[in-house]
């Protein structure tokens, strides 16, 4: 994900701002890392360039 996305993303639980922690990036974007809610502290992974903003209980690979 590009860093500019930070402007329009929020924590899905409380809609507060997220803080970016980069683990791996290339010239264009962040490939691996996490987004951490500045309010509730919940962590959302960024994997293969895609941030996963599902709350923890919705993260399984199969539908409910």
């Amino acid at each position: 994900m590009k860093e500019s996305l930070m402007d329009i993303l929020c924590c899905p639980l409380d809609k507060q701002d997220l803080e970016l922690e980069v683990v791996r990036r290339d010239d264009d974007e962040i490939l691996d890392g996490r987004l951490v809610c500045t309010e509730c502290g919940e962590e959302y992974p960024i994997e293969e360039g895609i941030p996963n903003l599902l709350p923890p209980d919705m993260r399984e690979e199969t539908p409910a």
Binding site: I8, E48, I50, L54, T62, P63
Partner: protein, 192 residues
């Protein structure tokens, strides 16, 4: 891990509804500034997002609840985020598009896999539409516009009423009739 070929079978591929929504939206938002913010909800393969982006030159964000869909959308060059509807988005957006799952389905016979999830609108066809309409005003810019694909199978009137209850005005922008249904693109804006 699901392999790529199997994954494609599990992601909704562009159909008549996708084309109608993509073409209508591309036409309507043709004058957006290059730095406008546009999001395609339930982007699936990324078709609507990619089509609108190509037509307008604006970078369109694609969100989907399915891990297979966000990967496929990204493979198609769409900036993708995994999110349930608008949950992880702060906005404000100048345009929001949504081709929702809208087929009314028997609750006992659904959600076995991601493709069924992408099609199934629950008993009344509005399982995804209602929460989308409830949350849209939060992320829609003051002059922003939503573009929602609705089928006559889903009851266009009921959708408009739900929108009105959330302070949204609706207007039919385009329609296309098929033997068993009529597809409509509804514009959603903040009511005056």
């Amino acid at each position: 891990m699901v392999d790529r070929e199997k994954a494609t079978e599990q992601v909704y591929q562009p159909a008549e509804d996708s084309h109608l929504l993509a073409e209508t939206t591309a036409e309507q938002v043709a004058n957006l500034e290059a730095d406008a913010r546009v999001v395609d909800v339930g982007t699936g393969s990324g078709y609507v997002a990619a089509t609108v982006a190509e037509a307008t030159g604006v970078d369109v964000l694609g969100v989907d609840i399915s891990p297979l869909a966000v990967r496929e959308a990204r493979d198609h060059g769409v900036t993708a985020v995994r999110s349930n509807l608008l949950d992880g988005l702060a906005g404000p957006f100048d345009a929001v598009t949504f081709n929702p799952p809208y087929l009314p389905t028997d609750p006992d016979a659904e959600w076995d896999d991601w493709m069924e999830y992408a099609l199934s609108g629950g008993p009344d066809g509005r399982r995804a539409i209602d929460p989308f309409l409830d949350d849209l005003p939060r992320v829609l810019a003051p002059a922003g516009r939503g573009f929602l694909l609705v089928s006559s199978l889903t009851d266009v009137e009921a959708v408009s009423e739900r929108a009105a209850a959330n302070g949204l005005a609706t207007r039919e922008l385009a329609e296309e009739s098929f033997p068993f249904e009529r597809l409509v693109v509804l514009e959603l804006t903040h009511a005056e």
